[in-house]
């Protein structure tokens, strides 16, 4: 008979769930992890562009599990469309390990200023910027723990924007670098700015039972076949199961959290692969389904003390949803302009560029008047995925390109240049038109209301995005790149989600307390990126991992000694 009672029930197995399961199982508590998707192993991942990126085989079928997205039409009215139609998909990895299986692993810590954005720069008109209830110093030990437990490779360098570290070096040496990295360094030196080796959640060498990077060149969006990528699955969950204290149940779609008259969560109900309802009881529940789906689960889990949804007495669940603001730049480096020795080294697929700039993390430029929060520039290869690249070659202002002209264009595109991209990350300003709720009509295949996301952006995102993208373009020009383009966008990057259950000291304006425990349900924790009241100007994954390790410690304290 299936065990139905545990110390801890973790819902979701990605970067927010893995550290909780791992830490508590290691400490001797009984843990069950409920994951709605299947459980793949390293050997199940292939570099198949059609699987990962054309048919989205690692995500739910949008016919069965759509989400609704609201966008503003030309009359400023919010129009809702199914993600099946809207060309955006907020699911990011429907399997054990979640979206951490498919990340690129550009790992940046937040900086001290990110924890006090309001006190440093003030609020913006129409924005809901607040300080965090904890400081960088509170999270620093956990960033270090992630370096060791998840595995972060890199090289520590001194630069003006560097955040304090408690250790001198990363535990793993940097991954191999492409010659483009050196070219960026030279250009940045000429410009008087500091290029930084980008830390990566990718093992440069084998460690324990995980292999080192195989440098296939197909990393972000693809599952890792060697275990080098620091997914929650490869880095943590296998070890959690090995303790004998952790059970992972794939194909377990949690539909409801039941709460009692005191407001405490008593059980999780999930549908198993056969569609049967199964109940699990636990002393503590940790929700980590990624921001949109975590809010959705709380909102549909009403109870006698939670009439508006679990922990939603304040009406704050789902509010202040965050994505990542930003822009991008790109340029080409024609092989014809290189010497005979250089060109072959630039044609290599595999080694990483691994360069970032944080010289404009805080922008002090008269164009903005007072100093403003800026962001991070990451230099990366253009994705090698050939179908995606080729499909962009068929479009022109005059219509589709086909026939022999298309063939000549493909030959040129794939053979004549190396390409560099710059991605700019800045704060997604929290505001009232970025939130998730329940759709009043559309239901998923289990009959539950689907998430309805309004992903409006604040104009400030665009201003900073354009500024940073232009800086990226300047570096590309200095590198001698051709066809340099830059742009910013207000569209939400669907893979960079946070917020929706912000933590804080005031129960009227936050869902979680500073320990990420629900103000209104003492045994409910939210351990994914939902807790973030502001997102910082870097990808979120390292911070989500670090905070989940911190939450695990808070859960341990709450559970107390292990009962025999």
């Amino acid at each position: 008979m299936l065990r139905d009672e545990f110390d801890v029930c973790v819902i979701g197995s990605g970067a927010g769930g893995g550290p909780v399961a791992f830490s508590l199982a290691q400490a001797g508590y009984s843990v069950v992890v409920l994951e709605k998707g299947p459980w793949f192993q390293d050997k199940d991942f292939f570099k198949d562009e059609i699987a990962c990126c054309r048919r989205s085989e690692y995500k739910p079928d949008l016919r069965e599990e759509p989400q609704m997205v609201e966008r503003q039409d030309v009359n400023d009215k919010w129009e809702a469309r199914s993600t099946r139609e809207a060309g955006i998909n907020f699911w990011n990895g429907n399997c054990v390990g979640g979206s951490s299986n498919f990340m690129s692993g550009y790992f940046h810590r937040l900086k001290p200023v990110d924890f006090r954005l309001k006190s440093s720069f003030g609020n913006l008109p129409g924005a809901n910027i607040v300080d965090w209830p904890i400081s960088y110093e509170d999270l620093e030990p956990y960033y270090t723990k992630v370096e060791q437990e998840v595995g972060v490779s890199g090289r520590v360098v001194s630069h003006p924007g560097a955040e304090p570290r408690s250790t001198a070096a990363f535990p793993f040496p940097p991954t191999n670098e492409h010659p483009i990295a050196k070219r960026i360094d030279v250009a940045c030196e000429k410009m008087g700015v500091h290029s930084i080796p980008t830390p990566r959640a990718i093992l440069s060498q084998p460690h324990a039972e995980r292999g080192g990077c195989s440098y296939s060149g197909y990393c972000g969006s693809y599952g890792c076949a060697t275990g080098a990528k620091g997914s929650s699955r490869a880095a943590l969950l296998g070890r959690a199961v090995a303790t004998g204290n952790c059970v992972i149940r794939p194909h377990a779609m949690v539909s409801h959290l039941t709460s009692d008259a005191k407001g405490r969560v008593t059980q999780a109900t999930y549908f198993d692969q056969t569609g049967k309802e199964v109940h699990v009881r636990a002393r503590v529940f940790a929700v980590a389904c990624q921001a949109i789906e975590s809010a959705r689960l709380l909102l549909r889990s009403t109870g006698p003390r939670h009439r508006q949804g679990l922990a939603n007495g304040s009406g704050q669940v789902g509010r202040n949803l965050l994505f990542s603001g930003g822009g991008a730049a790109s340029g080409s480096l024609p092989y014809a302009e290189m010497d005979a020795e250089q060109a072959p080294s630039y044609r290599q697929i595999g080694p990483f560029i691994n360069r970032s700039l944080q010289s404009w993390y805080v922008i002090d430029d008269p164009v903005f008047g007072e100093p403003v929060k800026g962001g991070t520039l990451d230099f990366i290869h253009r994705s090698p995925a050939p179908i995606a690249r080729a499909t962009r070659q068929v479009e022109s202002r005059q219509g589709f390109v086909w026939g022999k002209p298309l063939k000549r264009q493909l030959e040129t595109h794939f053979s004549e240049s190396a390409y560099v991209k710059v991605e700019a990350f800045c704060d997604w300003v929290p505001h009232d038109n970025s939130f998730v709720g329940l759709d009043p009509v559309v239901k998923d295949k289990w009959g539950s209301p689907v998430a309805r996301v309004r992903a409006g952006f604040h104009m400030h995102n665009l201003q900073i995005g354009w500024y940073l993208a232009a800086k990226g373009a300047e570096v590309l020009e200095k590198m001698g790149a051709r066809e340099v383009l830059s742009f910013a966008s207000g569209s939400p990057p669907a893979n960079l989600q946070a917020g929706g259950c912000r933590f804080g000291n005031d129960p009227a304006h936050s869902v979680l307390d500073p320990d990420c425990r629900a103000h209104e349900a003492e045994n409910l924790f939210v351990s994914d990126g939902s807790f973030m009241p502001t997102g910082g100007s870097v990808p979120y994954t390292w911070t989500i991992y670090a905070n989940a390790f911190r939450v695990a410690d808070k859960i341990k304290s709450q559970l107390g000694p292990i009962l025999a």
Binding site: F46, K47, D48, E49, I50, C53, R54, R55, S56, E57, K59, D61, R63, R84, E85, A86, G87, I88, N89, N92, F102, M103, S104, Y106, S214, S216, G217, Y218, G220, S221, A225, S324, G326, A328, I349, I380, S383, P384, P386, I387, A388, A390, T391, V394, G399, F400, W402, G403, K404, L406, K407, L410, E411, F414, S415, E423, P493, A494, N495, L496
Partner: protein, 197 residues
């Protein structure tokens, strides 16, 4: 944002009546004959697409990505038939995960193209010269349905050219070799999708 989701472009089915086609009197008999042929071909429908329509699809694919045999000065540059684009398309249509709207768009588009073809040239698409095919397709591209349908055809064609060979196209990585593309590794085992074939 490297792993931004890039789903296959959504093509919305455009409901367009196939009835009410107005035919020019001068070509009536030729059209009647062609229509009889089409009726016969409907008997051998495969996946909702008649044998005649499959021929039209093959001709369209050949036009969009023509084969170019190797010459003394030029290497082999594969086209749609070399990369087994038709076979790939049939496999895609059998995939239960394919959105039925994509299938409907494909059927709807080829039907509309054939109608236009008969109306304008009184011949079927495979029987047109290359320049006539180009004229017809460029004309079709200007319609909403035509644009979506051609977008879908080009999407599938490029998947057949550059997708993993286990998917049914790109035999022996022919498309990759032509364009000097280094595929990732590990690749799916060659027999991993036999069940689809």
């Amino acid at each position: 944002m490297n792993n931004l989701d890039k789903p296959m472009k959504r093509r919305r089915f455009l409901a367009r009546s196939l009835q009410g086609l107005v035919l020019g009197a001068s070509s009536l008999s030729a059209l009647e004959a062609a229509a009889r042929d089409l009726q016969l071909q409907l008997a051998s429908e495969e996946m909702g697409i008649s044998a005649g329509q499959w021929e039209a699809l093959a001709a369209v694919l050949d036009h969009l990505l023509p084969s170019e045999p190797a010459t003394k000065d030029q290497p082999f540059r594969p086209g749609a038939r070399d990369v087994q684009a038709m076979g790939y398309l049939k496999l895609v249509l059998r995939d239960p995960k394919l959105d039925p709207e994509d299938t409907r768009l494909l059927q709807e588009g080829v039907t509309a193209l054939e109608e236009r073809c008969l109306k304008r040239f009184q011949r079927r698409f495979p029987d047109l010269s290359s320049s006539e095919q180009e004229t017809l397709l460029r004309d079709f591209e200007k319609t909403l349905l035509g644009e979506r349908w051609l977008g879908e055809m080009l999407d599938f064609l490029l998947e057949a050219l550059l997708g993993d060979p286990s998917r049914g196209g790109n035999p022996d990585g022919m498309g990759w070799k032509w364009l000097g593309i280094t595929p990732g590794f590990p690749l799916p085992p060659r027999n991993s999708r036999d069940s689809l074939k």
